[in-house]
C-alpha cells in the first residue's frame, strides 16, 4: 500500500507548492490569513459587477429572510444600507417567497413612509430576518408595492411612490438609523378590500430596525468602507458591524487604531454643519445618499444630465465643520471632483451635488464613509464611543484612520 501511494507524494507536494505560489502571486498584500468570521459581520460592496443596478456609490448588503420560524427562506442581495431610516423594506419585485401579511382587525396593513422626495408605499409583512450570522429575529418589514390597495395610495403617498427597484438602484433598503420603530415617521393604514384608512399601529407591529431586536450586538452599528482613489474604483468593500464594544471587531479603541474619535450627539438626526460661511443646521449622515449634497454657488456645475452635480475642472479640497447641540465640533475634510471622469467606476469619494438652499443642510452622503469608520451608537449606556459616563442620546462617532474590521 505504502509503495503504491508513494509516487503520489511528489505530485501532491508540487501541487501544494504551486497553489501557494499562485496564492502569493494573486494576493499582493500577502495571503489571506484565515480568521473566524464573527456573527456580527455583514459585508458591504459598492458597485457589484453582478448587480443589475448601475448607480454609483450605493452600498449593498445581503439579507436573508424567512417565513417566521419556518421556511421557505430567501437571501436578497443588493439591499441598500441606509443610516438615515429605520427598518427593512423590500421591493415586491425582488421577493420570491410569500411572507405572512400583517393584519389589523382581519384586514391587511399598509404603510407610507416619505423620504422627502420619493416615498415607500406598500404592505407590511412579518419575516424572520438574519443579518450576518446573527440569530434570526422576527420583525415587521415593508413590502414596497405601488400597486398595493385598489385606490390611489393616500396622503403623502398619493405621489412619488417607488414603483420599481431601478428607482432606488437597489432591491430594497436596510435602515439602521438610531431609532427602533418607524411609528413616528410613517403612517399606517388598514385596507379592507384594498381601500386604505389610516390608524395608529401598535409600536410592536410597526416596521423596526432589526438591529435593535438582536439578542446581542444590538446597541448600535459600525459602518466601515475602504478608502478609494480619487478617480474612483469599479468596486469598493466595507463592513457593517453590528453592536458597539460587544466583540473584537467593534471595539472603538481597536477600530480607531489610536486616533481620536470625532463625535456628535443628537437626539434627532440633525446637527449643524458650517461650510463656506454658511450655517447649515439640518445636516445628517446618510449612507443612502450617493453624493455629498450641500450648497455652494461658487462650484462649477456639470451640464447635461449631471446638472446640479458639481463639476470642478480639477478636484478641489474642501473643509466643513460639524457641530452638535452640546457645542462639540468636528472638522471634516473632503474632496469634490468631476463625475465625468473614471468611466467604469462605481465607488467615488469626491462626488458632490447642489442642495437646494432652502433645505439649509449638508447631507453627508456615501463619499463621507470612504476611509472612515462611522459608529452609530443607539443611545444605550453600553454603546458609548466618545467620552465617558454613558450616553442617553444617539451618538455619531467617526474615526479618520480606522482599522478594517472585516475578517
Amino acid at each position: 500500500m505504502r509503495t503504491r501511494s508513494r509516487p503520489l507524494l511528489p505530485a501532491f507536494g508540487t501541487l501544494v507548492t504551486l497553489a501557494l505560489l499562485l496564492c502569493l502571486l494573486s494576493c499582493q498584500q500577502g495571503c489571506p490569513v484565515v480568521k473566524a468570521v464573527l456573527p456580527n459581520y455583514v459585508p458591504i460592496v459598492v458597485g457589484s459587477t453582478v448587480s443589475p443596478f448601475t448607480q454609483p456609490n450605493i452600498p449593498f448588503v445581503s439579507v436573508t429572510i424567512c417565513v417566521p420560524n419556518s421556511t421557505p427562506c430567501q437571501t436578497i442581495d443588493n439591499i441598500l444600507l441606509d443610516t438615515a431610516s429605520p427598518g427593512l423594506r423590500i421591493f415586491k419585485q425582488a421577493l420570491t417567497i410569500s411572507l405572512p401579511a400583517e393584519q389589523s382587525g382581519g384586514n391587511p396593513v399598509g404603510e407610507c413612509i416619505p423620504f422627502a422626495v420619493m416615498n415607500a408605499w406598500g404592505s407590511v409583512a412579518t419575516a424572520s430576518v438574519t443579518l450576518g450570522s446573527e440569530p434570526p429575529v422576527t420583525v415587521p418589514v415593508q413590502i414596497i408595492d405601488s400597486s398595493f390597495g385598489t385606490s390611489s395610495p393616500p396622503d403623502a403617498c398619493s405621489t412619488g411612490d417607488f414603483t420599481a427597484p431601478g428607482e432606488m438602484s437597489a432591491n430594497g433598503l436596510l435602515g439602521v438609523m438610531p431609532t427602533q420603530s418607524d411609528s413616528t415617521l410613517a403612517t399606517y393604514y388598514t385596507c379592507p378590500n384594498g381601500s386604505c384608512t389610516s390608524f395608529n399601529q401598535n409600536a410592536a407591529q410597526t416596521v423596526q430596525n432589526p438591529v435593535f431586536l438582536l439578542p446581542q450586538d444590538n446597541n448600535g452599528v459600525l459602518v466601515y468602507l475602504d478608502a478609494v482613489s480619487d478617480q474612483g474604483v469599479p468596486q469598493a468593500y466595507g463592513s457593517l458591524v453590528l453592536g458597539i464594544n460587544t466583540s473584537a471587531n467593534n471595539d472603538p479603541n481597536f477600530i480607531s487604531s489610536g486616533s481620536p474619535y470625532k463625535c456628535l450627539k443628537s437626539s434627532s438626526m440633525s446637527f449643524k454643519t458650517t461650510y463656506a460661511g454658511q450655517s447649515l443646521p439640518l445636516s445628517f449622515v446618510d449612507s443612502g445618499s450617493n453624493m455629498l449634497f450641500f450648497p455652494d454657488p461658487t462650484l462649477k456645475k456639470c451640464l447635461g444630465i449631471f446638472v446640479d452635480t458639481y463639476c470642478p475642472s480639477s478636484t478641489v479640497g474642501e473643509s466643513a465643520t460639524a457641530t452638535d447641540g452640546a457645542g462639540t465640533s468636528a472638522q471634516v475634510n473632503f474632496l469634490i471632483g468631476s463625475p465625468l471622469i473614471g468611466v467604469g467606476n462605481f465607488a467615488f469619494d469626491d462626488l458632490g451635488a447642489a442642495q437646494p438652499p432652502l433645505i439649509s443642510g449638508f447631507d453627508w452622503g456615501l463619499p463621507f464613509f470612504y476611509g472612515r469608520s462611522i459608529f452609530i451608537a443607539y443611545g444605550s449606556s453600553s454603546s458609548q464611543v466618545c467620552g465617558t459616563g454613558g450616553i442617553s442620546a444617539p451618538e455619531w462617532g467617526f474615526a479618520p484612520l480606522p482599522r478594517d474590521p472585516s475578517p
Binding site: A84, S158, G160, G288, D308, P339, A353
Partner: protein
C-alpha cells in the same frame, strides 16, 4: 439622499430645451453611470393640464381653506409683506405657507415644512411624479425641478420635510421669488 443621472433627468427642463423637442436618448451624455437617459421627457406640457380638486398653486386664494382642511391644518393666520400676503396654515407637525398676489388674488408660491409630509397632489394641484421618469433612479431626499414657469424644490429626510413651489410667471412685479421659503 441620492443623485446623478436620473436626478438630472427630472430637472433642468428649462436648461435642457432641446430634448423636449427631440425626446430621443442622447447617447453622447451616457458616461460612467448609466444610459437610462431619455432626458427630460415632454413632461412639463402635461404638468399644468392635470389638476386636482382643492389645489392652490396658480389658483384663486379661495382654494386655500379647502386645501388647509384637506391637509388637516387647523390653524390659519395671514401676514402682509411688501408686494404680497402670506396665509400660514399649520398643525403641530406641518406648516404650509401660501403666497398670494394682492392684485390678482392668485397663489404664486407654496411652501411646506414639517415632520409630516403633505399630500403634494392636493397642495400643488399637480402630480410632481409626472415630472420624473418612471423606472429610473431617483434621489430619495433631493429634487430640483425647473420649467419655464415652475420652480419646485424638495428635500429633507425621514421625519423632516421641506419644499417650495413657485409659479414664476405669477410672481408680482417687484417681488423676489427667493422670498418664498419654508
Amino acid at each position: 439622499m441620492f443623485a446623478t443621472g436620473p436626478k438630472q433627468i427630472s430637472l433642468g427642463v428649462e436648461r435642457l430645451p432641446s430634448p423636449i423637442l427631440r425626446p430621443r436618448p442622447r447617447r453622447v451624455l451616457c458616461n460612467r453611470f448609466n444610459c437610462a437617459i431619455s432626458v427630460a421627457l415632454p413632461l412639463t406640457i402635461v404638468l399644468f393640464l392635470q389638476s386636482f380638486a382643492g389645489a392652490t398653486l396658480g389658483k384663486p386664494q379661495e382654494q386655500i381653506a379647502k386645501v388647509g382642511a384637506g391637509l388637516h391644518l387647523e390653524k390659519s393666520e395671514t401676514q402682509s409683506a411688501h408686494g404680497y400676503s402670506v396665509r400660514i396654515l399649520s398643525s403641530s407637525d406641518l406648516t404650509v405657507k401660501e403666497y398670494v398676489n394682492p392684485t390678482t388674488k392668485v397663489v404664486f408660491g407654496v411652501t411646506w415644512r414639517g415632520t409630516r409630509m403633505p399630500d403634494l397632489k392636493l397642495l400643488l394641484g399637480f402630480d410632481p411624479a409626472t415630472l420624473r421618469q418612471k423606472g429610473v433612479y431617483q434621489p430619495l431626499h433631493h429634487s430640483t425641478i425647473e420649467t419655464p414657469t415652475l420652480q419646485l424644490e424638495m428635500g429633507g429626510h425621514v421625519g423632516l420635510y421641506l419644499g417650495r413651489a413657485i409659479r414664476r410667471d405669477l410672481v408680482p412685479a417687484g417681488v423676489d421669488a427667493a422670498e418664498v421659503k419654508p
